[in-house]
């Protein structure tokens, strides 16, 4: 099937449009089936994907605005493949666990549109197309946060939108400059990212462009100090919104880092390692502390997301296959784990309409199954081995260790501080005696919740124990990316920092 990517991108949107016809009672089933089909399509993509080929696969090119070099250019490689699957997977799980009653049709249609934009971002290989999906993803999310959120939902939604929008516009300027430079170099307009990768720019251009791209991406990640939209967005969003936001939308930022500035500006990236790493460190440590101070469960998880994203960024800037593979894998695991955590908080919120930890205590007694899954996910979030997170975190930190020992030690404090806030959350709400009268009669997980959550647990453990099927294609692509960067780098410093795999596996 040649156009599987197009189908993958547009199927949910088309289905969403058709969904308007479906009656309100059956819309849930409709949504789940569409998401399931989409998910199976993405699995199909995986099966037909050649894991040993590092380049782009299933490429589709169609000139859109040929005079300006904008084309409809899709493709996946090992890096994007799994994030696409993650997007479809999380959407499916989110839809299964969806507990919203109000305007459920609008919700499902928006979710399907959101799915289109998410998949679109990850398969676009044309900068403008990427940008289109990138921006478009804000719209359904705005609606989801704003229409179904908490008290401050409008504030949160607008903050989310404007912040990201402003950042990405700066990135757009960067893209235009890039296109112009490409034009000057070759005499042809092109927005193709793969073409841009081939452009070797002088250092000062690289740095400015790097900054332009970085700002746009950093806000999405969100890097300190651009992170403050996130707690609001998460805090106010409905469960499904938080789940998708944390699981997929944040990944757009880090994915963008891997896809855009790194291969485009290897020298500048190397030059900027330390500033970026310092920001990441602040993110890791500082937000972990802030998370500890939170009183609201969801805010803890929101800030923990920021903290973990710091590790991802750090891994990305390790500039070696270990670190980048690790950070890509960490994106996936963070998607699943934080998605699950948000879903779990949503479960309790649905029952009690509060997320304050002080309202709870002893939930382990009242809702043992719930507590079990929460426990597993808390431990996964903390990065326990044999869960997905460990693989990612381990590789990211291991990779960055090559760059800076001290910084890695500081960044490694995330495993301590993460344990501090996560365990204190767990203790405050799940341990102890059931104090509140209301908490005594809480219903444990129901069927659809269990199904959604156990699936996530299974994936978490499966990929923690046997990450190979995922890790291998990622690694293949990342290795070729890194050696490409190494080849492309001009300065000696960059050449020495960007190290393609030199240590061969002894199994061979």
């Amino acid at each position: 099937m040649d156009h599987i990517l197009s189908v993958l991108v547009f199927f949910p949107a088309v289905a969403g449009l058709l969904g308007f016809v479906v009656s309100k009672e059956s819309i849930r089933a409709y949504g789940i089936s569409v998401a399931a089909i989409e998910f199976f399509l993405s699995l199909w993509l995986w099966f037909s994907f050649d894991g040993s080929y590092p380049g782009m696969q299933f490429v589709e090119v169609l000139p859109l605005i040929p005079s300006f070099g904008i084309s409809y250019y899709l493709g996946v490689d090992g890096i994007s493949l799994f994030i696409v699957i993650l997007s479809t997977f999380i959407t499916l799980i989110g839809l299964i666990a969806l507990s919203i009653e109000k305007d459920v049709k609008n919700m499902i249609v928006s979710l399907l549109f959101l799915e289109m934009t998410m998949v679109g971002v990850f398969v676009s290989l044309d900068a403008i197309l990427f940008y289109v999906f990138w921006e478009l993803s804000l719209v359904p999310m705005l609606y989801i946060i704003g229409a179904w959120g908490g008290e401050l939902r409008v504030y949160a939604a607008i903050k989310f939108f404007l912040y990201t929008f402003a950042g990405s516009l700066i990135m757009l300027v960067g893209m235009l400059v890039m296109a112009y430079l490409y034009y000057q170099a070759t005499g042809v307009w092109s927005f193709s990212i793969t073409e841009w990768h081939r452009l070797i720019l002088p250092m000062n251009y690289q740095i400015w462009l790097f900054i332009a791209f970085f700002i746009g991406l950093a806000i999405k990640v969100p890097m300190f100090p651009f992170h403050t939209w996130l707690p609001y967005a998460h805090g106010q969003a409905p469960t499904i919104g938080s789940v998708i936001l944390a699981a997929v939308l944040l990944k757009m930022g880090t994915y963008g880092l891997v896809r855009l500035p790194l291969p485009m500006f290897p020298d500048a990236s190397v030059y900027m390692i330390y500033p970026v790493a310092v920001l990441s460190l602040i993110m890791i440590i500082y937000t972990a502390m802030v998370a500890y101070a939170q009183k609201d469960m969801k805010q803890v998880i929101a800030y923990s997301s920021v903290s973990h994203m710091g590790v991802i960024v750090l891994g990305t800037f390790a500039m070696n296959p270990e670190g980048i593979t690790g950070s890509v894998f960490f994106m996936l695991s963070h998607g699943i784990v934080s998605g699950a955590l948000f879903m779990l908080v949503g479960v309790i919120y649905d029952r009690r309409h509060t997320k304050l930890m002080s309202e709870f205590g002893g939930l382990a007694k009242a809702m043992p199954r719930y507590a079990t899954i929460m426990g597993i996910m808390v431990m996964a979030s903390v990065g326990l081995p044999l869960t997905m997170s460990f693989v990612g975190e381990f590789l990211s930190l291991a990779g960055f260790y090559q760059i800076s020992h001290t910084m890695t030690i500081l960044a490694g404090s995330s495993i301590i501080l993460g344990a501090v806030y996560m365990l204190s959350l767990y203790k405050k709400s799940f341990f102890g005696d059931v104090v509140h009268e209301k908490n005594k009669k809480l219903k444990d997980l129901d069927g659809k919740e269990s199904m959604a959550l156990w699936t996530l647990v299974l994936v978490t453990v499966w990929l923690g124990v046997y990450p190979k099927p995922v890790l291998e294609p990622i690694n293949t692509s990342v290795e070729s990316l890194v050696s490409f960067m190494h080849k492309k780098a001009m300065t000696d410093e960059a050449k020495s920092v960007i190290r393609p795999t030199v240590i061969k596996r002894e199994a061979e």
Binding site: P63, L64, I65, A147, F165, L169, L172
Partner: protein, 496 residues
């Protein structure tokens, strides 16, 4: 005694005049029909006007690129053709907006349609000439007709709007003639190409005077383009005029103004008169930014759109300041895309028009509160409006994004990266007020359940027009490339 003058018909190049003649004759025809039989329905006039405009458009396409006619008064270059197409397209979209299901005062006059066609002709003259006199006369013809059209809406605010517009227009006319006088004093000519020629031959000997002339011209054209601080009329006039006309005003007079501005300023910019460039730079930035931040605090959607259109005009003025072919082509692309979106947005307001101002303190016709919870009452309407808003905000892939892309690209390509960044930041700021409407429509609950009728004014033709606009707004990306080819051919051909 003078020699008798013989002029051959060919040298007159009557074809250059054909489009305007169509409009004028059409207008006269309408007046005659009214004389013959009174009390004909407005639908007749609407359709007649559309047909006349259609013929007019045909005539425009029939024009030959680069023609000059009537002793070189008429100039049919790419700009003229492009802008006439824009003008006519906007007019053809605008006129059917008269087919509301509510009755409005202005449409009871056949003269309304006649005046409208005269106005179109006036704008056409304005863009199809580089003679300051003809520009002036065309401008005044159009303006006088426009003042009247505004006032014909016949309520107090329309009069207020018309009077404000009129008085400020008179002052701007004063500025214009002073500017023209200075140029004439400097060069002995009122034809721009000759002015350019003589100025460059003399090497801009009396620079001060040149700049004084340019100052007057900026003031005069700035008024038309609602550049800060000559913009103050815009929101009031838009508010006072009917929503349909406001939408029209946000598009057509401005494109005419852009063409004139291009003709006047480019000759200086291309002669490296840095002053013009710098002053325009400042003006552009201030216009964009100030209009944006004032729009932030508006409580009325129509006023917000007024400020937003000022901001958009500022955005586009940047293209003139940049002055490359790419920039000038981008201007047209932007404005064509803006045409559909903005006219669509105003048409939505028009559709939701209530006769009585029943929201809040009655100060506004279209306060934000009016749209609260629209998604629950009028889902399609809300979605359509939201699409227009997103497009105006520059969210891809909707139409205006591509316009912004091209203009920002033009800025970047001429090393105005700071300007491009300012544009980007302004787009971000502007997103706030567009979002505000979306927030009201989608995220708030309907305020008063009794007053939830939004589409009272909607009729099939209006819906069709809006649908058309939506279609173009959403699928603009497919049209961008052919449009760009077309536009840049024409712009290039006219040497800008």
């Amino acid at each position: 005694m003078l020699e008798p003058i013989s002029v051959s018909m060919e040298s007159l190049n009557l074809g250059t005049l054909a489009p305007m003649l169509v409009a004028i004759v059409g207008a006269l025809g309408i007046l005659v029909i009214d004389l013959i039989k009174k009390d004909l329905d407005k639908t007749l006039y609407v359709m007649l006007s559309v047909l006349i405009l259609f013929v007019d458009l045909g005539a425009v396409f029939g024009q030959r690129l680069g023609d000059r006619g009537f002793f070189d008064v008429m100039l049919i270059d790419g700009l003229a053709i492009l802008s006439q197409i824009v003008i006519l397209a906007a007019s053809m979209l605008f006129i059917p907006l008269a087919l509301t299901s509510r009755r409005f005062h202005e449409y009871s006059y056949p003269e309304f349609f006649a005046l409208f066609l005269f106005m179109v002709a006036g704008f056409q003259f304005m863009v199809a000439s580089d003679n300051l006199i003809l520009i002036f006369v065309g401008l005044e013809t159009a303006s006088l007709a426009l003042y009247t059209l505004i006032a014909l809406h016949n309520r107090e605010r329309s009069f207020e709007a018309a009077i404000k517009y009129f008085v400020m227009g008179a002052l701007a006319a004063g500025f214009y003639v002073m500017g023209a006088m200075v140029f004439y004093a400097l060069t002995g000519s009122v034809e721009l190409y000759k002015i350019a020629e003589i100025l460059s031959v003399s090497g801009f000997a009396n620079m001060t005077l040149v700049l004084v002339g340019v100052s007057f011209m900026i003031a005069a054209i700035g008024f038309k383009l609602s550049m800060v601080p000559f913009h103050t009329w815009t929101p009031d006039v838009y508010e006072g005029a009917s929503a349909a006309l406001a939408g029209y005003m946000s598009v057509v007079p401005k494109i005419a103004g852009f063409v004139v501005a291009m003709r006047v300023f480019e000759l200086l910019i291309h002669s490296d008169v840095v002053w013009v460039r710098d002053v325009l730079y400042v003006a552009v930035v201030v216009t964009m930014t100030l209009a944006n931040i004032i729009a932030l605090v508006q409580r009325d959607v129509k006023r917000m759109l007024a400020f937003s259109s000022i901001s958009h005009a500022g955005f586009v003025m940047a293209a003139i300041m940049i002055g490359t072919t790419q920039a000038n082509s981008a201007l047209f692309l932007y404005w064509i895309l803006f045409l559909f979106t903005n006219l669509g947005a105003f048409a939505m307001l028009w559709v939701s028009r209530h006769k009585a101002a029943v929201w809040g303190d009655g100060r506004f016709d279209h306060p934000y509160e009016k749209f609260a919870g629209m998604i629950h009452i009028m889902p399609v309407g809300a979605v359509v409006m939201a699409l227009f808003m997103l497009s105006l905000a520059g969210v891809p892939p909707f139409s205006l994004f591509w316009g912004k892309l091209y203009i920002m690209s033009a800025a970047v390509n001429s090393d105005y990266i700071i300007l491009a960044l300012i544009m980007a930041i302004n787009s971000a700021i502007s997103a706030y007020y567009y979002l505000k409407l979306i927030v009201y429509m989608f995220l708030k609950d309907p305020s008063e359940s009794g007053r939830t009728v939004y589409m009272k004014n909607a009729s099939k033709p209006l819906q069709t027009i809006i649908g058309f606009s939506v279609f173009l707004t959403v699928f603009a990306v497919l049209a961008v490339d052919p449009m760009w080819e077309f536009i840049s051919t024409y712009v290039q051909a006219s040497g800008f």
